[in-house]
Chain length 405, copies 2
């Protein structure tokens, strides 16, 4: 057996994030772009709006004509037709006149503002304006929303509903995105049985398969489940040897030393190499990172809670890189600890917590549960990271909570 | 024309949320359950784990046998075989003996703790234990994760990855969820053209169609786009008369008074009724809520930014009800305003903001952009609500930001 020193979380992440990947791209309709990652900058090919638009129902005017106008001494303007929404403004405005205009309609040449209907009294041949307007009032100018030639969305951005709004405003029916990473999932362990099977003494159901595939789905990746392997070199090697063409391989299980050894041995037997074995974290220490035929492989802890934390902290960063995403900010919130969190120096610890709001402040209460316990995740809102160099946190300390969603 | 008073946001929500809905249910595989809403409580039919499990590699012992054990005066125990992971523990432990056990394996009858391998020295016929263990140490007990008979997930919960982990731990292959709401989307306006068409002067592309369908998708609903109607009673009535079997209808457009009137008239002509017309909010005032053949209809403002805010604040609560969801907490964060937000009394105002973190605090900077401007949403993290009774917020005030995602 080979001796490999456990790495610090930052050393591990450095190795993980420097893994060489080659994101592919594809063209998708904007109807299917939500949650995908842009593989090119989007540069505005038009101004939005493409003409000066009225923001209200009223009259297009020259603002100077309304100077000093009020209820008791209105300005009089002759009216010269109406511009309807959707039509080109063919008439031009001359000083002393006003043109009727509806919300969204094109501002006529010569006008520099729109007076709202509410501040207008109609006469037989014109209008009395009872309030002055300033230059530009009630107009959305050409390019005020989006300027032609500007970079509106950056390569590497995960596309949300608002980004699609911008793409549609610019007339993009299709865009280029990175292909979804495809991850192979393998469960290992003599005790693991499919959830379809009846549970006999000593056996447990394959929880990690579902946790992993759904965490990946939520993060925008595809996965294929390759089955459950037994805890022996032959079976693991056989399964691993048939894994081709995936962007990543996740093997969960191997909580005992023997099992972990089978995984590293089989990877080496197949010509791969172990990049590290063990991270100074709790839970999740017995994590393996390796490469096999250019694919990154994680050996994840079998305990469901450990498995989740390693995915969130160490697998996601590589997934983001494969997705072509820009630097991803983890969602977090600050709050006050309601109780101490003890921890050991030299280990980065992840503690699930609950968040409660009271009088404009957030109060953070840790769950102290064993690494095999999964149910506490459904009640937790996030987790606190106790860094390696800290002996825990104290009650009433302000801490950062990384949110699960 | 009928006069209908604008309502306060809370009066509007009361009418919206009291709309009678009838959520349907369906059975889905847990492979397709992510993001769906549970239509039944999940009661644990098993204990998880279903047997006492070892959390470490080591020896199952009686804790009393290790009292006082240390490096210099170890306790001696005879070894009696090994229990492997995945197998039933057929041997029983008697005081004075130890049974080898691996992580995840079944604790034998008679043992009450596990001593880690690290604190054991092997002899020819037994082990020397160099550290005492307390009762229960390194064991995950039957039902410690999930207790048989307990309610583990509640009806109305939106299912996340961890919930699926719990469902798989309990052996649920399928669950009952509410069917996804199906929403009809209609764009109205003489200026609106499909994004496929070339933009001619006076026309704008149909942005709302995409914004609406993606906001709905993100919230777990399906949508069908029914097309673009012209601004006249005949066209709107014709389109609306063919809308059947949807859970909700969203008509966007109608920023000018004439257009809004066509929508209300056509709903009434078809036998529907207007429940309210106008909410005291900014942006989004000209919002219509109506019912037609039992379906709720929203007339949404045409300005993209107004449309988004009305969907988030007023359409989502009804969507959640149709989805059968429990009370949904909107995601939010508190921070310090970097500048004043002026607002008028009598109107609830929504102001898009950017959030920056600096030295453990969040700083909130508003974007002041016109209601027709959509691009600022892609840069904003959320929005601040200025309540009706407030004349805005002041710089350095602590405010709540509702997050867009």
């Amino acid at each position: 057996m080979e001796f490999l020193k456990s790495l610090s979380p930052s050393e591990s992440l450095e190795i993980i994030e420097s893994f060489s990947v080659d994101p592919k791209t594809e063209i998708v309709s904007i109807d299917h772009a939500l949650g995908r990652v842009l593989s090119e900058d989007i540069i505005a090919k038009d101004d939005v709006p493409s003409f000066n638009r009225s923001l209200v129902d009223g009259f297009a005017v020259v603002s100077k004509d309304t100077v000093g106008a009020k209820e008791t001494s209105p300005s009089f303007l002759y009216t010269r037709g109406t511009i309807h929404v959707g039509e080109e403004a063919h008439i031009s405005l001359t000083p002393g006149t006003a043109i009727g205009i509806s919300t969204g309609a094109m501002i006529p040449h010569g006008a520099d503002s729109v007076i709202m209907e509410e501040y207008v009294r109609r006469t037989s041949d014109g209008i009395e304006v009872t309030k002055s307007v300033h230059r530009g009032e009630n107009i959305c100018f050409i390019g005020e929303d989006i300027k032609k030639g500007s970079v509106v969305l950056n390569r590497g951005k995960k596309i949300n509903s608002f980004d699609i709004a911008v793409l549609s405003a610019l007339g993009h029916e299709e865009i280029s995105v990175y292909t979804k990473p495809h991850v192979a999932i393998l469960s290992s362990g003599d005790e693991i049985v499919s959830i379809r099977e009846t549970l006999t003494p000593g056996k447990v159901r394959d929880v990690n398969r579902y946790t992993i595939s759904n965490l990946l789905k939520d993060e925008g990746a595809l996965s294929t489940f390759l089955g459950i392997t037994k805890d022996n070199l032959e079976d693991i090697t056989k399964k691993l040897s048939s894994v081709h063409g995936f962007d990543m391989v996740l093997v969960s299980g191997g909580s005992s030393k023997g099992e972990r050894d089978f995984l590293t041995q089989s990877i080496k037997k197949l010509g791969g190499s172990i990049l590290f074995h063990g991270i100074n974290i709790k839970p999740g220490k017995p994590t393996i990172f390796a490469q096999l035929q250019g694919m990154p492989i994680f050996g994840l802890p079998g305990h469901p809670a450990s498995c989740v934390m390693v995915i969130i902290r160490f697998v996601f960063p590589l997934l983001w890189k494969i997705q072509g995403r820009n630097r991803v900010e983890r969602k977090k919130i600050r709050g006050i600890l309601t109780t101490n969190i003890p921890s050991s120096i030299g280990v980065e610890e992840y503690v699930r917590v609950e968040i409660k709001e009271h009088e404009d402040r957030y109060y953070i209460t840790p769950f102290f549960s064993k690494s095999s316990v999964i149910s506490s995740f459904t009640r937790a809102s996030g987790y606190v990271v106790v860094p390696q160099e800290k002996e825990g946190y104290e009650k009433n300390e302000s801490v950062e909570v990384f949110l699960f969603s």
